[in-house]
Amino acid sequence: MTETQTALDRVTRVPGVRGALVIAAADGLVVAEQLMEDVDGQAVAALAGSLVLRLARTAESAGLGRPRFLHLRGDAGSVLAAPGADDLVLVAVVGPDANLGLARLELLEAAGRLA
């Protein structure tokens, strides 16, 4: 099993996670995904990629360095993102009842192993 597949498996095992993707941030394209049927991977990849790049520019302009973790909270759930190496970003789409603490830990650990 590849590191990418392992990362997706670890994240999607967390209760409440509805899907996980590895995306190329600059292109906003899906590299690999494990998603429930109602999650639009193409849209998540495009929008999360754009968000990560813009927030990275914002954080660097503010002297905060490179962001390590993003949490976008909505009424019906959250989008979590952890940038890894080589422009790759590990993204999770989680429901409102998800274990966010565990999802965050798994995302950070798995994103660190992405090559």
Binding site: D27, G28, L29, Q42, A43, A46, L47, G49, S50
Partner: protein, 154 residues
């Protein structure tokens, strides 16, 4: 942004606002321009439309030869600008979109909102075809000039 048919305007304006595309050209599969954004010279539009239609025709033939069916789109990634060329079906026949975009957006964003624009165009297209005269060689230049005048206002 200029469009020859009014029902194209809303989907195209939404696409331009969401995608941050620099140039956009919508044309029929024969290269007849339907709408354009960002081009300042009619010669550029004519050249881009002819090249775009030619590339799509070539890639579709290549897809047929290789048994790939139809390619959904073609992306050229450049250092300063990139280009998406994609054909799609509408109630008015097969159309082609040519989009040029820079690093302020991404191919994922452009592709996402391009697909949304296609859905909106298909939904907005009038179902009955407008009556049109047959395209004759002697009418071609007049039709072309009328289209360019509508797209560039001169």
């Amino acid at each position: 942004m200029k469009a020859l048919e009014p029902w194209v305007v809303d989907p195209l304006e939404t696409f331009l606002a969401e995608s941050a595309a620099r140039l956009t050209l919508l044309m029929t599969s024969s290269g007849q321009v339907v709408a354009q954004h960002g081009f300042s010279r009619s010669l550029d539009v004519m050249t881009a439309a002819a090249l775009g239609a030619g590339i799509v025709a070539s890639t579709e033939e290549l897809a047929r030869l290789t048994g790939a069916g139809r390619f959904e789109g073609l992306v050229h990634n450049g250092q300063r600008q990139s280009c998406l060329l994609a054909a799609f079906a509408t109630p008015r026949g097969r159309w082609i979109g040519l989009v040029v975009f820079g690093p302020e957006t991404s191919v994922g964003i452009v592709r996402l909102f391009f697909d949304q624009m296609v859905h909106q165009l298909v939904a907005a297209a009038p179902r009955e075809l407008a009556p049109s005269a047959p395209m004759l060689a002697e009418n071609f230049e007049t039709e072309l000039n009328a289209s360019l005048k509508a797209l560039f206002g001169r």
